[in-house]
């Protein structure tokens, strides 16, 4: 992976389309040609405001989708941009998910909130190639109906896989399931749980309880993958902010098999 060029210099990428999910979460479809995997990330920057690591939430022929939540200095400024404007990018960085690990298996994807972004590429893949997994289940949880992302995508996913869309709380008579993602885990049925595979991405507490839920129903540790989130200033193993134990989340992750990921204690 040695590069002789200056990895810190970003390139300009045009915003092709802005897809609004909620008031604070938009997907920016960026022009990009090159290899990229679900779960990898780009450092998105606007001069003067800084850089922020953002997961790839969709991969097109000449685009990548970056689903951005308006929570910080950089993302605040990104939300001032429109289709036709440009952002600086560098990347993709990190290992990303390898869909080969899930082919021919009973697959469960559990995502909490914006944690759906890094796994969306896997969901898209097995939605478009449903026969390549033995079965696919998506359990996606959001705080409230107003926080749900990718509503259009859910419509097509529901045709091709078992989708459980749930919210932490909603007004009465809501059409959504109400409850945490973890409560649906014991209800899942598997032909052979020792071979079943799972991907879990979301806030730290949600990941902790979801992986515990999977282990409790009989999943093997080696069949679970998680993706971690940390502060990253460089994305290339230099700045040190994302290090946990001997692991650099940006280089060795952000995707980890649970056998490794369970030891990443801050």
């Amino acid at each position: 992976m040695k590069l002789n060029h200056n990895e810190y210099i970003p390139f300009l990428s045009e915003i092709k389309e802005v897809i609004k999910h909620t008031d604070i979460e938009y997907t920016f479809r960026m022009s990009y040609i090159g290899n990229v995997k679900p779960g990898q990330f780009f450092e998105v920057s606007i001069p003067k405001y800084g850089e922020a690591p953002i997961s790839v939430s969709g991969i097109g022929n000449d685009t990548v989708d970056l689903t951005i939540r308006r929570v910080g200095k950089v993302t605040e400024e990104v939300f001032e941009k429109y289709a036709g404007d440009k952002l600086f990018l560098r990347g993709p960085y990190g290992n990303g998910f390898d869909v080969e690990n899930y082919k021919g298996k009973e697959l469960v994807i559990i995502a909490g909130g914006t944690g759906l972004s890094p796994v969306k590429g896997i969901v898209d893949y097995f939605s478009q190639n449903a026969s390549e997994a033995k079965s696919t289940t998506l359990i996606a949880g959001f705080k409230s109906p107003n926080d749900i992302l990718f509503t259009e995508d859910f419509k097509s996913w529901e045709k091709n896989m078992n989708v459980i869309l749930t919210v932490d709380s909603a007004e009465e008579n809501s059409k959504y399931n109400v409850g945490l993602v973890t409560q649906y885990i014991p209800e899942l049925k598997f032909e052979n749980i020792s071979e079943a595979v799972a991907v879990v991405v979301g806030p730290p507490a949600m990941m902790r309880f979801s992986t515990k839920g999977l282990l409790d129903v009989g999943f093997e540790e080696k069949n679970i993958w998680i993706s971690q989130e940390r502060k990253m200033c460089c994305g290339i193993g230099k700045c040190g902010h994302c290090k946990v134990d001997d692991t650099y989340i940006c280089l060795d992750g952000p995707v980890f098999n649970y056998t490794k990921g369970k030891d990443l204690i801050d």
Binding site: Y8, R230, C233, C239, H241
Partner: protein, 339 residues
Amino acid sequence: MGYSLNIDNMNTVIKKWSESYLIYAPKCFEGGGTFSDTDVVRYGQIENVEEIVFNKKSDFSFKEVLLPISETLFYFTEDSVKEADERKKKAIIFLRSCDLHSVRRLDEIYLNNGFEDYYYKRLRENVKFILLGCKSSFENCFCVDMQTNKVDSYHASIDYDGESFLIDNKCSDFENDFENSFNKKQDVIPSYVTENHVKVNIPDNITLDIIKSKMWDEYDSRCISCGRCNFVCPTCTCFTMQDIFYTDNGKAGERRRVWASCMVDGYTDVAGGGSYRKNNGQRMRFKVLHKVYDYKKRNGYHMCVGCGRCDDICPQYISYSNCINKLENAMKEVNEIES
């Protein structure tokens, strides 16, 4: 090849070097210390050999020559960027054995760990190292136990015996300079420390269970998370990106990287308010284990070089070497809980 030079001849060599090199060495900045009327020894450019401080440990390491405290990466206007120019001259750094060992640690992170760092590499390629011999240990040093008291990877070494400068030269680029100026030729072995007052014992049975030890709790209140230990450390390499813009033209500015400290608030903050390792004890644990445990797991040798500067600088009199010596009991403590 070994040489002995008197002051005038040594200065002739240094003058010759300064034509093509910037020369960095530990020098005394009078009145620059933490307290009034105290001095500080830190790295700066020198023009003659008398400026080099031979008889004290430098309060700060040489690392700012290779990793500037604030380094401009590129300049930007609205939609274009221009890479920052590199230093025009090559550099010579005078440093002690522990610090020369730390160069390997800097190289590990900046040249090997995943990607090669463009800015570090272009400085590093143009640097030559001159070893300052250590006749005896300074306060808080523990280089012998860290096996960094001796080193071979210098271009030349220099010892001062009170009258002459003793040189062991290994660099062909320097050969003519010494051949033209020496007083006499003699075999020179750079002096090195054989015993430190401070001893450390790093147990080899450390596991991540050590996180659960109570030993870290005392640092919650003792440590004030000022980060000085990181900034004086010759092996700490972390940085944070920083964009600044010019007040006369808000559309132009530059992106820099500036030194960062894992002990200081904000180091792990993610957008939206999340952060990790909120207690100072947890930060102390993160730092100490990086220096003597997890870096070795990844790279095969310890990160810490035993210079003891962290102990010299701590305003709370926290001793890092003392902390290392608590690790053995901490492992016993957590193993007992487990069993």
